[in-house]
Amino acid sequence: MTVTRGGILVRELLDEYGALTRSALRRWLPQQQPRSYLYDLAADYPFRGGRMMRPSICIATAKIFGAANDDVLPAACGIELLHNALLIHDDIEDESQERRGRPTLQRLAGAPLAINAGDFLAFLSLRPLLQARERLGARMVLRMFEELDRMAQETAEGQALDLGWRRDNLIQLRETDYLEMVLKKTCWLATILPLRLGALVGGRDPLDLEHFVRFGFFLGAAFQIQDDLLNLVGDHQHYGKELSGDLWEGKRTLMLIRLFERANPDERERIREVLAPPREQRTSASVQWLRKLMDVYGCIEYARALAHGLAGAAVHEFELLFGDLPDGRDLHFLESLPRWVIERA
């Protein structure tokens, strides 16, 4: 695949802002006792080499609005710590096997210690924000907490829908149901919150943060669909998670919803039967059957095209939001993200 100039810039800034955030994170993740029971576990995911998209979006947005790195790093660290806390809990809830190319934390340390490390990271994510009071003032810290509060509610609602649909074996879902779930579960933490916190810190509060919801939604939704696609067709080495893991976990992805919509009555019945039992009772043959049926009905191509449409809408929303602002690297980074999210391997 041809790498575009925008794609190169995205990678450059992800590397640069990612390194900046990781370096700052070390301060919040000390190597102290009890290391093997808590601190090493808490530091495991953040230093496994994620893309660092969330903190990078936050830093770039803040800089577009005139902030210095030191102004926005506490918010970027808070977002990354919280993201890793939720990853640990998600992996337990989903019974996932791999994360960023290695076994999930609960497989390495056991679920009780992994849950505790996740709890610790979630509370720890508040600390950089509290410390930002020295630089940004108490009012700004309270505003950031309000943003976190809203995001926490939206994310929990989205995760509840995802888990509840699986528990009750709901399959006949609409695409709008899926997008609403993704808006809450993925977009708020992955894109909307980083944009809003960046604008809050950079603009010193008066900017209307509701502007950022549309762009964040389209960007985040395209990102999630591409992530789900990579789970089915990606290169295992690059992807870093179990291939077809979403089918093993019975996740209600756009491809599965499309498959159920297109399947004939007999196939629908079998899909229900395959997805009804818990993961450990699902067989390799039944997962492969689901995967092949997706190819027969063109579900992969369908989802890919839909993600392209969402990315196109993100480009449009970017123009409306940022079109008037002075040109620069950070602006180009945000502008190039919609295309990058659907082209990444």
Binding site: E134, A305, G312, H316, L325
Partner: protein
């Protein structure tokens, strides 16, 4: 008279607008696939009509997305309106959930008050100045509607030429308020001149103050326009 062939324009490569939003976010070669590439794609995908996404799927994705996000934002606005109504009637009874909501909101107001007090009692070393405009910016406002203007300008702007981008409302597709004029006063301070058109929809409009020399962001302007007229 000899017949002269009329000059004709070349046949255009297309005769209608490009409505495929996919073009916005796909590589250049994907916008105009060669017939060879199309053949190849068909070959890879097996029999025609089987695994390929139906035409129009990408625009449908954008349409679906807009339906979801607009519903979501509308629901949020309705909830905010209901909450505002509940607050207006605080003290006049109400159900337990309503009272809880009011208490929560009051709690937030209380927290904000404490935070302001905290900040004023204990200004952190090296912290930036409070985010009010202070005497540096004078606002000249012409408006029939009730309006509140808030200007935040970063310190150290003396001697710079500043401009303001058009102020935008919450709905990015709605008309902008236009760009206020930012000039210098004789005493070296700034003067912001703003006229609010009578037909402007009530709401919150905000924009960026920028440095005319290097384009960097130097502050923000926010205007709240009330539905109620000043003379009402």
């Amino acid at each position: 008279m000899a017949e002269i062939e009329r000059p004709r324009r070349p046949v255009p490569s297309r005769t209608g607008p490009i409505r495929n939003i996919r073009c916005l976010a796909t590589p250049e070669e994907a916008r105009h696939p060669s017939s060879e590439a199309e053949e190849e794609a068909r070959g890879e995908q097996g029999e025609p009509g089987e695994p390929e996404a139906p035409v129009g799927t990408a625009p449908a994705g954008a349409t679906l997305g807009y339906r979801v996000i607009e519903d979501y934002l509308r629901q949020g606005q309705e909830s905010a309106r209901k909450l505002a109504k509940g607050l207006a009637g605080f003290g006049a009874g109400g159900s337990l959930p309503e009272l809880s909501e009011r208490l929560l909101r009051d709690g937030l107001v209380w927290m904000e008050t404490v935070a302001k007090l905290w900040a004023s009692l204990d200004p952190p070393e090296g912290a930036p100045e409070a985010t009010t405009a202070g005497p540096e910016v004078r606002v000249k406002l012409a408006s029939r509607a009730l309006a509140e203007v808030q200007v935040e300008l970063r310190p150290g702007r003396e001697g710079r030429e500043l401009g303001v981008h058009p102020l935008r409302g919450t709905d990015p597709t709605a008309p902008t308020l236009g760009a206020p004029a930012m000039g210098r006063r004789e005493d070296g301070g700034f003067e912001l001149c703003l006229r609010i058109p009578d037909a402007l929809a009530p709401g919150r409009y905000s924009g960026i103050i920028f440095d005319r020399d290097d384009g960097s962001v130097q502050g923000t302007v926010e205007v709240r326009v009330d539905a109620e007229s000043e003379t009402a």
